[in-house]
């Protein structure tokens, strides 16, 4: 019984992890049809920002929930202005340029922080679950992710900015003919996506040690979650996070963590082959 509870919690954590790390990528892909291959590095930058702030004596929650999103958001703004905006509508070129950006950021971080792993201790201690010792911080991540999903949904559904964003998603020309500059919408969207990635990196920093190449660990999972989910930001990301999180953890517990990861990636290929437009392209077409 306890064991089932542990597995359940781990599955929940994995779903939260996938949703959290893909949120920034999902918003940018869903609204702009831009695939940002430097997404993993944005997450990594959020982590480094948090750790640097923590070492400078800043409260760790303030660092991860405020400083990291702001810093990475600014990075995103600069990237959009200098690179992305020249490449709208050229999907493959955007993928290539952001892959270059990813390598560039890895090189820069290596230059500044060196290539040794850095980490900070988890600010929440573990607890006992029946006869198992669990990490308390995992629960915090699940809560943050849930709050983030609800907040994003509320912003998209109930605010004027959200309305414009959803409009731009469905028909950029209509939005622009109504007097909203799509370039401005895109700029804000990309910045918001980068800020979300920074938040994810900050929140995850205490859990995993960080290396300049850590982004690679996030990008693949975020990538398949978003692409398999399809264009609808929230329902798509959530549904594929649930599928992949469950498969990954069940196979991990049954066989081996590496096999779990491989099962998830293989499933992604099969799903993409069956549903090239993603889950939401097929099932929940009218959702956000």
């Amino acid at each position: 019984m306890d064991y089932a509870g542990v597995v359940g919690l781990e599955i929940l954590y994995m779903i939260a992890f996938l949703a959290l790390t893909s949120a920034g990528l999902a918003i940018v892909f869903g609204m702009m049809r831009v695939i940002n291959l430097a997404h993993g590095e944005f997450v990594m930058l959020g982590g480094y920002t948090t750790i640097a702030c923590h070492n400078a004596g800043v409260n760790v929650y303030f660092a991860m929930l405020v400083v990291a999103p702001v810093v990475v958001g600014i990075v995103g703004l600069v990237v959009e202005r200098t690179i992305i905006r020249f490449l709208y509508g050229r999907m493959i070129d955007t993928m290539l340029a952001t892959w270059g950006l990813s390598l560039l950021l890895i090189g820069l971080v290596t230059l500044i922080f060196g290539s040794t792993a850095v980490s900070i201790p988890a600010p929440i201690s573990g607890y006992r679950f029946g006869e198992y010792q669990m990490g308390g911080y995992n629960l915090f991540i699940i809560l943050v992710t849930a709050a983030l999903v609800v907040a994003t949904w509320a912003v998209l559904k109930f605010t004027r900015a959200g309305l414009i964003a959803r409009g731009a998603m469905q028909g950029a020309e209509v939005v622009s003919s109504l007097g909203y500059d799509p370039r401005k919408v895109y700029m804000v969207t990309f910045t918001a996506g980068a800020a979300l990635s920074g938040l994810a990196g900050g929140v995850l920093a205490p859990l995993t040690g960080l290396l300049p190449s850590s982004g690679g660990a996030y990008i693949a999972k975020a990538f398949i979650t978003v692409i398999t989910g399809g264009a609808a930001v929230i329902s798509g990301t959530l549904s594929s996070a649930v599928i992949f999180g469950t498969v990954n953890q069940l196979v991990s517990f049954a066989v081996h963590p590496v096999i779990g990861e491989i099962a998830m990636l293989a499933l992604a290929i099969v799903l993409l082959r069956l549903m090239p437009k993603g889950i939401t392209g097929r099932f929940f077409r009218d959702s956000t």
């Binding site: 490449l87 892959w99 560039l104 398949i224 082959r273």
Partner: protein, 350 residues
């Protein structure tokens, strides 16, 4: 359509010059570094062939490079003679690519999703090979060895004579011959109707399909051919490095070859080759110091090329050269016009 857009023809003069340079290079330089540069050039050629001419971009071409290397290592440890392993190192990646390609192309998956799937395939191989430490993962006599890879297998030998193994200078010549042969194979493919249909698919896939060509079959075929060449490069790399590791499947390796190709130039064969040799050399130089990271340079270069010269260096230079040629022709003689009409204008062909 201008010549650089279609296949272009082989220039035997340049080809013989390149052959002579490759032949005589060992007289003036140590062959250790040139060997690996030729291997990388072959790897880049394999991707440049399918990306530049058929318009198919594999984001994870390192999968077939690594598969070739692992196939060779495992096979040669079990067989002890290198001829069959060398062939297997081309066949296994080709079959893998044919299966994956058929799945993608007959499923009519668009280029972006093709990017995702090829990337995920190489990640699966990377994750799997990194996790194969221990006694459970053994193929015949070969231990897969997890993250440390497979060291100490037998290098290539003279076919039929396992005791005469090749290393050093002979390996260099094997790599040079492999590169020249693969170049000729690519040229041959491009000169045939198969190659012309590929270029047609790149230019307008719907039209090719309406003309009755089985587009999916053509795409799958060129993917397999390209993977076989990448596998050959991987096999030669395994011989040069005398070890195979999961890093051959890594995202870094996949990004590197893509950058070599796009910097060198799409839609040419010489561009990827020169790109790989030049950037490979820079990588080796940067490896000797610790201040500037190689990925920093490669990343910046990729951004600059995508934004500034999306055609790549070689085609851009060719066009510049061609327009200079045209201007000077017009200035100096009216005969230039006639000569151009006969297809003799410089730089239009590779």
């Amino acid at each position: 359509m201008t010549a650089w857009q279609s296949g272009g023809r082989i220039r035997w003069g340049w080809f013989l010059l390149a052959t002579a340079i490759l032949l005589l290079l060992p007289l003036v330089a140590d062959t250790h570094t040139p060997t690996v540069l030729l291997i990388w050039a072959l790897f880049a050629l394999s991707l440049g062939m399918m990306w530049g001419y058929a318009g198919l971009l594999s984001f994870g071409h390192s999968a077939y490079f690594g598969l070739g290397a692992y196939t060779y290592a495992v096979a040669v440890i079990n067989m002890g003679e290198s001829t069959a392993p060398l062939l297997l190192a081309m066949m296994v990646p080709a079959i893998a690519a044919a299966v994956i390609g058929a799945m993608m192309f007959y499923g009519r998956i668009s280029d972006v999703y093709m990017g995702v799937i090829t990337l995920v395939v190489t990640l699966i191989l990377f994750n799997f090979m990194s996790a194969t430490a221990g006694d459970a993962y053994v193929i015949g006599n070969a231990r897969l060895g997890g993250f440390n890879g497979i060291p100490g297998f037998q290098t290539l030998n003279v076919p039929g004579y396992p005791e005469i193994s090749l290393f050093g200078l002979p390996t260099y010549y094997v790599c040079a011959v492999a590169l020249l042969l693969c170049y000729l194979v690519c040229r041959w493919i491009l000169a045939r109707s198969f190659g012309r249909v590929l270029v047609g698919i790149r230019e307008n896939e719907a039209r090719c399909e309406l003309m009755g060509y089985n587009v999916s079959a053509y795409k799958t075929a060129i993917f397999a051919v390209s993977a076989a060449m990448a596998g050959l490069a991987g096999c030669l790399f395994a011989n040069w490095a005398e070890i195979v590791t999961p890093r051959m499947f890594s995202l870094g390796q996949a990004a590197e070859v893509l950058i070599w190709v796009i910097v060198g130039g799409l839609g040419t064969l010489i561009g990827p080759i020169l790109g790989a040799i030049a950037l490979g050399f820079v990588k080796l130089l940067l490896g000797e110091q610790t201040v500037i990271d190689n990925s920093l340079v490669l990343g910046a270069l990729l951004i600059i090329v995508v934004l500034g010269i999306p055609r790549g260096v070689v085609p851009t230079l060719q066009r510049a050269w061609a327009s200079i040629g045209r201007q000077s022709h017009q200035r100096h003689s009216k005969a230039g016009t006639a000569r151009r009409r006969l297809g003799a204008s410089p730089g239009e062909h590779e």
